[in-house]
Symmetry: C2
Subunit: 402 residues, 2 copies
């Protein structure tokens, strides 16, 4: 049999970075490369009890469910979001297999091949893949520590007439940054004026540092005037605040958009696991999720502080970073002459791994950048990881000096 | 905001049938329309225990999993399939969110817009939707009680140069039929000779009637020469033999095809619920699934026999059916002048529902057909349902006689 694959498989090609990272598997490498939440803070007992409660309802819990998702869970999420200023009812919400599926389904119902999508520079790798598989044209907008450059956004909207702008404004993957209020308002108003839809991806928004007095960041969605007719679709997930294995995300927005996505989901997989959805409902009904989120925040902040302290202590020449106000990542800029893909090869030899920044650019990658994850490495390993990274950097500088 | 949806939403339009069936919700209607397995035979206690066992492994069970799916479950499925002559290793298998997602992912990696897909006449509604959303051209092949008409298959392969043939050869949805061995071999050899890939959808194959001495039907996949290089991709699911809420299906076939599908799945949703996958592994390790399948077979066969007896007893003029050898459906052909969409409107008034055959045709629907489900209605209700159906039919004949 001579298989005749579709054009789409081109967009799913394995990257050079992924090939290098494969080398880390099964070795005693300390990885700052992943994007994993820390198992130590999974509410395992509470999730276990939640599943047991589901079974108390009888065999019908195992029957087919609604494509939209388990209604009582949608109600709970709606209440949870309302506390963050996000007003969306159950018919303005679709439950998905992680927020990744929300990106995919919106792309299916909103993007035709050749349509332009604007993204941040840098942005989330797996969103780029979805857009590419749809044969969209992806164009990066310049960004700084405060978010998207509004002038560049306006210019690119004029130049490319995009249909969609995809953003992760709060504790972004990979850059860890949080947009200022001014950039949030500016982006929303520019997009509304130009009839460009915004997909706001917010998996990390709850992981805010600084405790009670920490800075808060309103979602773009909450700055618009209600779900119906909104220029913003907002997606988030339980993966970072409860646990990823439950694969439950959600997207909220205009009723009609949600309806079209629901129909697309029906063709894609009928519905996501309703066991997980029912368990999450029981969890939200019987467990203090907000207190749990506060715990994760404190623990992740402590880990972030250790990473920043190590960066400061190492004091590598020309190395820059922005201290994140939440999330799971520190974005590091190395001196101009350091290609982090090359550095990674040496790092893997020294038994430490990270993700080279090149993976996160839709176009014109800035090759001297890297993403470091701080949530999944113990304090002792973090110290070792930075020693190893230092040795890799030293070897690279020596090689370049020759 | 003026939303600008993609062309794809056209393929997800709600059908007239769906609109009529919506009227049945929340009413005391007896529905023979659904495709639901019977909750009465869900192994609820065993599934509950399986979830409890998963949690005994510690918090890492809640972490991100592999896109391919939980490896120990793939091993178990591989062993289970081997007993049916289906030889596929863990790297020739992808776990999906129901077999519906397997259809979708294969379509993504194998079909480009405009490609032709051949299907049975009639075929599974939700597969048509997936193919349409990919802008494939769908062409029906004539079928009889033994399966696809091989001459028509060859003719249409010559005429349309299709890339894919989609079939449900064993206890089909909607027609309930099982292909003869000759048609299985013939279809496989024609497709191999013409380099046309076969997607064999087999959600019902385990629901075989007739007990120990019942007729067995080898899968097309098992008739080919091993997974790698095979002309057949084979998909099935736990939805009908364990429970649908767990949303766990699988597809097996050539390593390269599976690899491309895995990459497409990574973009689509990273992975399916690994809670469900881990629970199914525990279930298969500690529960006699084969004995459970035998139980379902016996119970469904008894229900099928009741439905066939009622059809015989009613003895409606010109009504034909084939007694199914397995599965969940009886396909009924009414006299030529009965449009079952019109009949459904009267049936709903009489408080009984079914699915008009028109939903299951990619082209030139045979309007006098209907699909009746026998797995989800009690014996008492089944009697009532046929009385009501009889009244609807009588009213229709009277109206037509005027």
């Amino acid at each position: 049999m001579n298989y005749r694959f579709s054009d789409t498989i081109e967009s799913f090609k394995s990257s050079a970075v992924r090939e290098i990272l494969k080398l880390t598997q099964g070795r005693s490498i300390i990885s700052l490369a992943g994007g994993l939440p820390n198992e130590q803070y999974f509410p395992t007992e509470a999730v276990k009890e939640a599943f047991a409660r589901v079974f108390e309802q009888g065999p019908q819990v195992l029957q087919y469910g609604l494509t939209e998702g388990y209604t009582p869970l949608r109600e709970r999420i709606s209440q949870h979001l309302a506390r963050k200023g996000i007003q969306a009812g159950v018919d303005q919400m679709l439950l998905t297999t992680g927020s990744q599926q929300a990106i995919d389904l919106l792309t299916r119902v909103y993007i035709d091949p050749g349509d332009v999508i604007l993204v941040e520079r840098p942005t989330y790798l797996a969103a780029i893949q979805v857009f590419q598989s749809r044969k969209a044209r992806i164009v990066s907008v310049e960004c700084d520590a405060d978010g998207m450059n509004l002038e560049d956004l306006e210019r690119k909207i004029r130049q490319y007439a995009p249909k969609l702008v995809y953003v992760i404004p709060t504790f972004s993957n990979p850059s860890g940054k949080a947009w200022s209020l001014e950039r949030r308002q500016g982006t929303l108003s520019i997009c509304k004026r130009n009839n460009v839809l915004i997909l706001e991806d917010d998996p990390y928004g709850e992981l805010r540092f600084g405790g009670e007095n920490g800075e808060t960041f309103p979602s773009l969605f909450s700055l618009d005037e209600g779900a119906d007719g909104s220029a913003v679709l907002y997606t988030s997930t339980f993966s970072k605040i409860v646990a990823p294995a439950l694969r439950t995300g959600w997207i909220v927005g205009d009723k009609e958009v949600i309806m079209h996505m629901t129909r697309a989901k029906q063709a894609a997989d009928l519905h996501s696991s309703s066991m997980d959805q029912q368990a999450l409902y029981q969890l939200m009904a019987h467990f203090d999720l907000n207190a749990h989120i506060d715990l994760i925040r404190r623990e992740y902040e402590a880990r972030m502080r250790q990473m920043i302290s190590l960066l400061q202590a190492k004091n590598w020449e020309g190395v820059k970073w922005i201290e994140p106000k939440g999330g799971m990542f520190v974005w590091v800029e190395m001196p101009q002459h350091i290609d982090t893909q090359e550095l990674l090869k040496l790092a893997v030899e020294e038994e430490v791994a990270f993700v080279p920044g090149i993976s996160f650019y839709a176009d014109e990658p800035q090759k001297n950048t890297m993403r470091l994850n701080f949530t999944h490495t113990s304090a002792d390993d973090m110290v070792l990881a930075f020693d190893r990274l230092g040795r890799a950097l030293e070897r690279m500088e020596q090689a370049l000096a020759k």
